[in-house]
Amino acid sequence: MNEKHRDYSGAKIGMWLFLFTEILLFGGMLLLYSVYRAKHSQDFHNAARELNTITGALNTFILITSSLTMALSISATQKGNKKLSTIFLVLTILLGFTFLINKYFEWGTKFHHGIYPNSPELLNHPKGELLFYSLYFVLTGFHGLHVIIGVLILSWMAVLVTKAKIHQRDFIKLENSGLYWHLVDIIWIFLFPLFYLIT
């Protein structure tokens, strides 16, 4: 027998440790958000009303559904159903793309109205609104970057599943990628109410 030694628990613990650093990265920015919100509540109120709740809700729906297909893909692999696993994985990737396209149009509309970091239009707004939009662009931007990275990783995983490098008896890579994708979903679960809902 020529078996490689693998430590699946260790691999998963490593992934969780990485996710913790991500939690702290976004946590720090959300802390900044809450302090500025407390200091400039009226400006935040006015600025948040300008964001499109429907786009935000649609993107929430898309990301939650992509989390579902991601989880289903792992279950399918665990049950040895390669075809179903690939289908769910491709669906997850497509939903990730849809999220990004939505975001592209959302940002596009804002840019069109002259609202982008350091724009002359934005600099005329009250200080609190400026802070709100800076945080909005940084946080949704960082989150979007995570979605892009997630889509890339999942595409790589789809290749590995098709090549049977990930299968019923060795799926840790798919599982860890899933953990990353779900964390991105959790971050959005907080960003959506904080930027689009609470006014």
Partner: protein
């Protein structure tokens, strides 16, 4: 070594779909609550629902419910650290 040994709990498709429906319902409730203009209370309610949704994603989608206890204990660290950060910052900010 085989990854699919007894330590692995395969979550059924049905459970995942139920969790997904729960998440969608909670999202709907959040949107409705935030539209009610309850002021400070709506912020608390909305954040509480976000925490419940996070709990669902963590326990089921991220399998935390089925993992060894060490994973659940580990998660306490970032949570405690964040709570300390946020708590102490607001001690500072609110009493200036």
């Amino acid at each position: 070594m085989d990854q699919n040994e007894a330590q692995y709990h395969i979550v059924s498709y049905g459970t995942y779909v139920l969790v997904w429906i729960g998440l969608l319902i909670l999202t709907g409730i959040t949107i409705v609550i935030s539209g009610l203009n309850l002021g400070g209370l709506s912020i608390l309610a909305v954040l509480f629902i976000a925490l419940v949704k996070t709990g669902l994603v963590l326990s089921f989608f991220m399998h935390l419910k089925y993992e060894e206890t060490i994973f659940q204990i580990m998660l306490l660290f970032p949570v405690v650290i964040l709570t300390i950060f946020i708590g102490f910052t607001f001690f500072d900010v609110s009493f200036r």
